[in-house]
């Protein structure tokens, strides 16, 4: 109880301080409206939506782009539920399948609410003062001041005229905010208390995901302004979650099993089903990240599919090389690794770049999963770090290497004569790596102290389905 009280006070202090910042923002904004206005395209739409809540936008919405963004948002949710729920659910033992699926499902619910309450504002909102490049502030808390006819301040980077409703952009980004913490659940599967999990995820989404998304994607973000390229979330989503996963796996310790052993998946068809749903949903993820239905979206779709296929083939080849036969779990893992790696690059590279990105990601992730994990002895149960952090980091590097002005005018990578881009990519990787690892560690320890986060050995032996949810997935008799 004492700890709960501490938590409550903590939250109150946080919100109170937020309120004060908000109040200060309000006064300074009136003094100098749009003084710190960011880059070109977003500026006009931004001030328009903030100033007068007009019933209809000056320019009508692009219905094609809007329709595509609605569909894309929906299928990005499909990546988490049921996609990731089945992918991870199939990989665990059958006594833990419900608990693992509940991680994805629970996060979808938790973050959906967190997003409209505070998340979107912190990630994509605008704040004044020195913190502006790092966090969005509270201006859009509860989506305050945003109406259904307001245009999105974030637009297609190539055809800057596309107008979609602000609401659909908020929902599209909500689905990203959902899948990111859901990816972490692969690292702490089979040994985490549900209560501790729920609290940890709420804090992580707010204190890790939202700022990092702000750095890279918001109009004010320091990494975005610096010039780091991350089209759909290679660092924001995948490296961020993968590194957090590693921190969680290290802090939670190994599952109760002999060192050097692992557990077989309880349902490989679930794994294939989940990976296939991820593959399909990822077209919304990447081809939707251009916020338009145009050539850029088509290009993102093309390279996403190509890199994924190449990565699946490469993983199968590695399996044959190391073990003699291609495995289905390996093919699925390779496909996911390919999707991860092409994510940051999908709006910048052409088919040639995507093929190389796809080949290399399976090689590095394969080595991370097959050699690094057993050698370092951390129990990243479902390879959140090995696939998402390693794959995401390679994707960020690949973007810096293979970005070509053929896709987005003026944006070239190393092999197209712009070696400086690599610096920005490494800055992005380094910043996300350090911030995610350090803050995840702090939050994890805080939650462990407040409510406890690891199940007892007895609960782990019995399984999380029964001990955390009073349910079992499969009956033995009728």
């Amino acid at each position: 109880m004492k700890r709960f009280a501490t938590l409550l006070i903590l939250f109150l202090v946080l919100f109170a301080s937020g309120g004060m910042v908000f109040a200060q923002n309000a006064t300074t904004t009136t003094a100098a409206p749009a003084a710190s206005a960011p880059a070109a395209a977003s500026t006009n739409a931004w001030t328009a939506s903030a100033a007068v809540p007009a019933p209809a936008p000056a320019q009508p919405f692009d219905t094609g782009a809007t329709a595509w963004m609605i569909v894309a948002s929906a299928i990005v949710l499909m990546m988490t539920i049921p996609g990731l729920a089945f992918y991870y659910g199939g990989l665990v033992r059958r006594k833990n399948v419900l608990s693992t699926m509940m991680h994805s499902f629970g996060i979808a619910a938790i973050v959906s609410v967190q997003w409209v309450v505070i998340g979107y504002s912190l990630a994509f909102g605008h704040s004044d003062g020195p913190l502006s490049p790092f966090i969005g502030g509270f201006k859009w808390a509860f989506l305050n001041g945003i109406g259904p006819y307001d245009p999105s301040p974030y637009v297609d980077p190539v055809a800057a005229t596309h107008l979609v409703p602000h609401y659909i952009y908020i929902m599209f980004q909500a689905m990203f905010a959902i899948i990111t913490p859901a990816l972490i659940s692969g690292a702490f599967a089979e040994r985490i208390k549900f209560g501790g999990f729920a609290l940890f995820i709420t804090l992580w989404a707010t204190i890790v995901y939202d700022p990092v998304a702000h750095w890279v994607w918001s109009a004010d973000g320091w990494l975005g302004k610096l010039g780091a390229l991350d089209f759909a979330g290679g660092t924001v989503v995948h490296m961020n979650s993968g590194v957090a996963g590693l921190a969680c796996a290290l802090l939670l310790g190994r599952r109760r099993m002999p060192e050097g052993t692992s557990t077989p998946p309880h349902n490989v068809p679930f794994v294939i089903l989940g990976a296939a749903l991820l593959w399909v949903g990822w077209f919304g993820f990447n081809a939707g990240s251009g916020v338009g239905a145009d050539g850029l979206a088509a290009s993102a779709f093309l390279v996403t599919n190509t890199a994924t296929a190449m990565a699946a083939l490469t993983w199968m080849f590695m399996d044959v090389l190391f073990h003699g036969k291609p495995t289905t779990v390996g093919a699925a893992t390779g496909a996911v690794a390919g999707l991860v790696a092409i994510t940051p690059a999908s709006g910048f590279v052409n088919v040639a770049g995507s093929l190389v990105i796809g080949i290399v990601v399976s090689v590095v992730c394969y080595l991370a999963v097959a050699l690094l994990k057993p050698a370092a002895k951390y129990d990243d149960a479902l390879d959140a770090f090995g696939v998402h952090a390693i794959g995401g980091a390679w994707g960020a590097i690949g973007t810096g290497l293979f970005a070509t002005a053929m896709i987005q005018p003026g944006i070239n990578g190393l092999i197209y004569g712009n070696p400086r881009q690599m610096l920005f990519q490494f800055a992005d990787i380094g910043a996300v790596l350090v911030y995610s690892f350090v803050v995840t560690t702090i939050l994890f320890k805080l939650v462990d102290w407040l409510v406890g986060i690891k199940v007892t050995p007895r609960e782990e032996n019995i399984g999380l389905d029964l001990t955390q949810h009073d349910e079992k997935a499969y009956t033995v008799i009728d």
């Binding site: 692992s262 077989p264 073990h323 495995t327 779990v329 893992t333 999963v369 390879d383």
Partner: protein
């Protein structure tokens, strides 16, 4: 009365059943079981983690018979479950156990009459 337990390859079940019917042994209990013999099962690979000693799927047949049916039943199972002329490793085992009593639940009959 004897109780026969046979552990056979799953893909031999249909043959064993056919052979048993020829000998007019029409009652049996069949279950799916897992296990391994001296060869220590199979090796499975998941994301490069090699797991040796995995249990193989087998079929377990249980039959209660009167004494004059024992040899016929055992030979029928042997014929059905053996792979090819000379058999293969993993074809299985047959155990014959003494059977003390049998009751038919519906009628309460006991002994040899209750068995068939």
């Amino acid at each position: 009365m004897k109780y026969i337990i046979a552990i056979i390859q799953p893909y031999r079940l249909a043959d064993v059943q056919a052979e048993l019917y020829k000998e007019e042994v029409n009652l049996m209990t069949v279950s799916e079981v897992v296990g391994h013999g001296r060869q220590k099962g199979v090796t499975e690979i998941y994301r490069s983690y090699r797991e040796s000693g995995n249990l193989l799927r087998k079929i377990r047949i249980e039959i209660a018979v009167n004494d004059d049916f024992v040899d016929r039943a055992v030979k029928a199972i042997m014929r059905g479950a053996r792979s090819g002329e000379s058999g293969e490793i993993g074809d299985g085992k047959i155990f014959v156990l003494p059977l003390e009593r049998v009751y038919r639940i519906r009628t309460g009959e006991t002994g040899g009459i209750a068995i068939g």
